[in-house]
């Protein structure tokens, strides 16, 4: 059963086609990877899914409900949460309050216990009372994930969560994603750290020049000559 279904989505900016008829499917309980060279249209596709960019054509459904015309906050209320490549924390609030805002927005009861649970789960108890604006990247990425999780989403969209992390932090992130998927959460992961992608993803989609050029298991993708060519250029 598909959790997220992206159907022939097209995005044009003026004469440039950034996303050109993309089909993509993400399941609950799985980590779905979306990779591709720079400028392939990954962030644009992410913005279409989360409601920050109106597509020129095509549709997006969540849980078999068409959400193409819903604004971002209504999508969130239906169980979608995302993080941002260039950290979008609420810098003047403490880490705890960042997560609290999210829990409150999801209209959850016993907000405080959920906040504590997320802090615990992501492992940021030691920085919980610091202003979010002063955090180093690694911690800030974790806070963004905790904040997204605090809305109790069905689908988590992660935009380059490992960029700026060192290897140990990246490993810990991978373990966290596997644990989350095991609880039935669907994860869509845009990431450049291939080590992480290959390790945690169940399915990988490869986007190049706005089109999906391949999809399959990590092993299939690693041995697909088309993928290598998209990354390294023609030899």
């Amino acid at each position: 059963m598909s959790l997220l279904y992206v159907d022939r989505v097209i995005v044009r900016f003026g004469g440039v086609t950034a996303v050109d008829g993309v089909n993509l499917l993400a399941r609950a309980g799985e980590v779905t990877g979306l990779i591709g060279p720079n400028g392939a249209g990954k962030t644009t596709l992410f913005n279409v899914i989360s409601g920050m960019q109106e597509p020129t054509g095509g549709s997006v459904s969540l849980d078999s409900v068409d959400i193409t015309d819903l604004p971002a906050h209504k999508r969130a209320q239906r169980g979608m949460a995302r993080t941002f490549q260039r950290l979008e924390l609420f810098g003047s609030l403490s880490v705890r309050d960042n997560i609290k805002v999210a829990a409150e927005l999801a209209a959850l009861t016993n907000v405080n216990s959920i906040v504590d649970e997320m802090i615990e789960r992501v492992g940021i108890a030691d920085i919980a009372d610091r202003p979010a604006g002063d955090l180093p990247t690694g911690s800030a990425r974790l806070v963004e994930i905790a904040r997204a999780l605090a809305t109790r989403p069905k689908l988590l969209l992660l935009d380059e969560p490992a960029s700026g992390l060192d290897e140990a932090e990246s490993d810990r992130l991978g373990e966290l994603l596997r644990t989350l998927a095991a609880t039935g959460l669907g994860v869509l992961l845009v990431e450049h750290d291939m080590g992480l992608v290959m390790k945690v993803c169940d399915v990988i989609y490869v986007l190049d020049l706005g089109q999906i050029i391949a999809h399959g298991t990590p092993n299939e993708i690693q041995h697909d000559p088309k993928v290598l060519e998209a990354y390294l250029g023609a030899s």
Binding site: A72, H73, A76, D97
Partner: protein, 758 residues
């Protein structure tokens, strides 16, 4: 036909002036990203300068024109860019706008100072006054033709400059991509400077042309810019041809309305309000429509890193602050003369208005240029609603204005940043023109707002009103603190810090913004509803709102203390001008001057002062010492050793200059400590020894003296200890290092920190 042609010509020449002003706005906005609210004021200053040269000193017109437009204006523009605007990169839109408001206030103050309105002056003549030519049977004055010609010339020159010169190409390049311009070897700063110089010349040209039509008056010249906003917005703030077209349409609309509007066109009144103000409001209405037809601002990721900072206020300190504020007001209000009481009362009223900006601008990051408008509506509601000022009337008045605030915000919410700020300005002007300037609203020019009736307490004296207003400020301040600590407060801050993240977490941005606007309007309404006296519409004019916004930002718009600081400074300042004529001129440019420095300290003065006191936190021995000192000063006053004014001055110096320096004194080395103690003590003794009631005979001079004393003693003491270890609460300097690091320790530290040693 004849009439149509006449009014077309009049309309076009009005439009020509709008076009010249608007093109200047566009030039600076596109190249430096700063929307210059002071653009009209620049034109006003130029017109006055030209008048000075041409009509007062009899310099021949061409020379006077050349000097004004091609020497002084560009110089002024370039200087503005270099000194004021360049420091603003990396600050929020709120700070950037406030700085131009400051510039606006500064220039008006300067004009009032140099060219006082009471002096009789030579008339400002049109170009070729009295001469006209006949075009198709209609007499057109030379001045009109020149005005029209100037607009055409400006259009041609701008076109040539922007497309045919290297500087012009560079200007357009900066708009496209600032970084790439630098990578090409171009200097964007110089380009901006040139743009500001050009813009000042355009403003000056428009100012001189308009003064020829309307004579030299500060207000219409300054507010000319509002009409130009509309044209600039029609041009989407970047398209010059569209801007010119918009200006022409505005001018024609205005002129045709004048010519053809008929009594029967509009109902003379609606709901008891006369609609006579519509003509004056035409440009504003056009501005409003132009703003609202802008496309919805898109959600975009990309966080703005704020240089400002605010902390969560604690309940304990907030309640303590509120209680002591009321206590201090009760205590000192008995000693104040009537005029000083009114001064302080006005200060607290302004502080409430400034407070209304804290949740809206400080927390939610939404700029409003209309805080006083809501106070005015509150005053009207309080006066017009039945009940003659009982609590129910008050509550109803506040609720009504809050609802109005929310509703007004609704259409404007699609906008953000500068566009939102301008739409609040348009709203303020509309309300001023259509509601405040009404015979029905303000019979005989003012209305009596009843004093709030509180059970068991009769308030009839200015002192009573002062205590009431101070109490209201304290309570509203606590309300704002409560908001900040609540779910709503977190949402407001989230909205400011990252709208994209807030929306994708499920926040309905529109609803949150409406809440912020309603809350702000409600607080603002309290200030008006508590007026308790006769008020006139001029008090709530749009132009009066600007200094409030400015001083709230100067004080620190993110904190309640900042609102108090800003309000008191503004209230004190305006009365200062009436009490002390000799300082009147200085007081005129004071707020503007302070505001212009915002670029260097965007968090505001209150935040900085609070930082100075933070070092005292938890140091009970010092706090007790400060309390004891305050008691001694009070006791000396009670025993009639010190006069009341000496009490005030000494008290302020004790708290603001001595107290924040105490931790430094304690931590310094013994030699330095001795010097500092002697210095502080000497300053304090001298301050206390002077009988300020007689030494300086006016309030204003005493206030200035306080500022100077605090600066001299406080900063002086700090300077003495500066070279010693600087102390912060958690600084390693106080941990007790008694020797230098050994080589081994340094090596270990560097290894830990991964410092590479060659």
């Amino acid at each position: 036909m004849q009439q149509l042609l006449t009014f077309t010509i009049i309309g076009l020449s009005t439009g020509a002036i709008y076009a010249v002003v608007a093109s200047g706005l566009v030039v600076t906005y596109t190249t430096s990203g700063i929307f210059n609210l002071a653009h009209g004021a620049t034109g006003m200053l130029a017109a006055f300068t030209y008048w000075q040269l041409r009509f007062d000193w009899d310099v021949p017109a061409p020379i006077a024109l050349f000097l004004t437009l091609f020497v002084l204006c560009p110089l002024f523009g370039a200087l503005t860019e270099r000194v004021v605007m360049r420091g603003l990169q990396g600050t929020t839109e709120v700070v950037r706008l406030s700085v131009t408001v400051a510039l606006f206030a500064f220039m008006i103050g300067l004009a009032n100072w140099v060219w006082p309105s009471d002096s009789s002056r030579e008339a400002f003549l049109k170009f070729f006054e009295g001469n006209s030519v006949s075009i198709a049977g209609i007499n057109v004055s030379w001045h009109r033709i020149i005005t029209f010609g100037c607009a055409i010339l400006v259009a041609i020159v701008l076109r040539l400059v922007l497309f045919r010169t290297r500087m012009g190409v560079a200007m357009r390049a900066v708009v496209d991509d600032r970084n790439l311009t630098e990578l090409n070897g171009g200097r964007p700063d110089r380009v901006s400077m040139f743009a500001w110089a050009l813009s000042a010349t355009l403003a000056g040209l428009a100012g001189i042309l308009l003064a020829g039509e309307q004579q030299l008056n500060i207000e219409p010249l300054v507010l000319l810019v509002i009409n130009a906003y509309a044209a600039a917005i029609i041009g989407r703030l970047k398209n010059l041809p569209l801007t010119f077209l918009g200006a022409a349409v505005l001018g024609l609309l205005d002129s045709y309305y004048l010519a053809y509007s008929d009594e029967s066109w509009f109902p003379q009144s609606a709901f008891g309000f006369s609609l006579a103000g519509i003509r004056a409001a035409i440009p504003t209405i056009v501005l409003f429509i132009a703003l609202l037809t802008r496309p919805q601002s898109r959600l975009r990721a990309g966080i703005v890193r704020f240089r400002e900072e605010t902390r969560v206020p604690e309940w304990s300190t907030s309640i303590l602050g509120a209680v002591s504020l009321v206590a201090v007001v009760v205590a000192i209000s008995g000693m104040l003369t009537r005029s000083n009481t009114l001064l302080l009362l006005n200060g607290f009223t302004m502080a409430i208005v400034a407070l209304s900006l804290v949740p809206l601008t400080g927390y939610a990051g939404q700029m409003s240029l209309a805080p006083l408008t809501f106070a005015g509506l509150g005053a009207i509601a309080m006066a017009k609603l039945p009940g003659d000022g009982n609590i129910a009337t008050f509550v109803l008045a506040v609720v009504i204005v809050a609802v109005v605030g929310g509703i007004v915000a609704l259409p404007a919410l699609r906008l953000s940043g500068i566009y939102l700020a301008l739409s609040t300005a348009a709203f303020a002007v509309l309300v001023t023109k259509l509601v405040f300037n009404q015979k029905q609203t303000f019979q005989s020019g003012n209305i009596a707002v009843p004093i709030l009736k509180i059970p068991f307490v009769e308030i009839d004296s200015p002192r009573g009103r002062l205590i009431l207003t101070a109490t209201a400020f304290s309570l509203l301040g606590l309300l704002v603190v409560a908001v900040r600590r609540s779910r709503l407060g977190r949402r407001l801050i989230a909205l400011k810090d990252s709208p994209a993240a807030a929306a994708t977490l499920g926040m309905n941005l529109t609803r949150t913004k409406v809440a912020a606007f309603a809350l702000s309007a409600g607080i603002g309404a309290c200030a008006g509803a508590l007026a308790g006296d006769k008020v006139s519409p001029q008090q709530y004019d749009f132009t009066q709102s600007l200094p409030v916004v400015l001083l709230a930002v100067v004080g620190g718009v993110g904190t309640v203390g900042g609102a108090l600081f800003g309000g008191l400074l503004l209230g004190g300042n305006s009365v200062l001008a009436s009490v002390v004529p000799s300082l009147k001129n200085l007081s005129k440019i004071l707020p503007g001057t302070i505001g212009i420095t915002l670029g260097r300290n965007p968090s505001g003065a209150a935040t900085q002062t609070a930082e100075a006191f933070r070092v005292l936190k938890g140091r009970w021995n010092l706090l007790v010492f400060i309390g004891a000192g305050a008691f001694v000063i009070w006791a000396l006053t009670a025993a009639d050793v010190l006069s009341h004014w000496t009490f005030v001055v000494t008290g302020v110096v004790w708290f603001l200059a001595v107290a924040p320096n105490l931790p430094l004194v304690v931590a310094s080395s013994s030699a330095r400590r001795a010097t500092a103690v002697v210095y502080l003590a000497a300053g304090l003794v001298i301050t206390a020894a002077i009988d300020w009631s007689t030494a300086l005979d006016v309030t204003g001079q005493r206030l200035i003296a306080i500022v100077i004393l605090v600066a001299v003693i406080g900063l002086g003491a700090q300077r003495i200890m500066e070279s010693g270890p600087r102390v912060r609460a958690d600084s390693p300097d106080v941990i007790g290092l008694d020797r230098d690091f050994s080589g081994e320790e340094i090596e270990r530290a560097e290894r830990e920190l991964r410092v590479v040693i060659r």
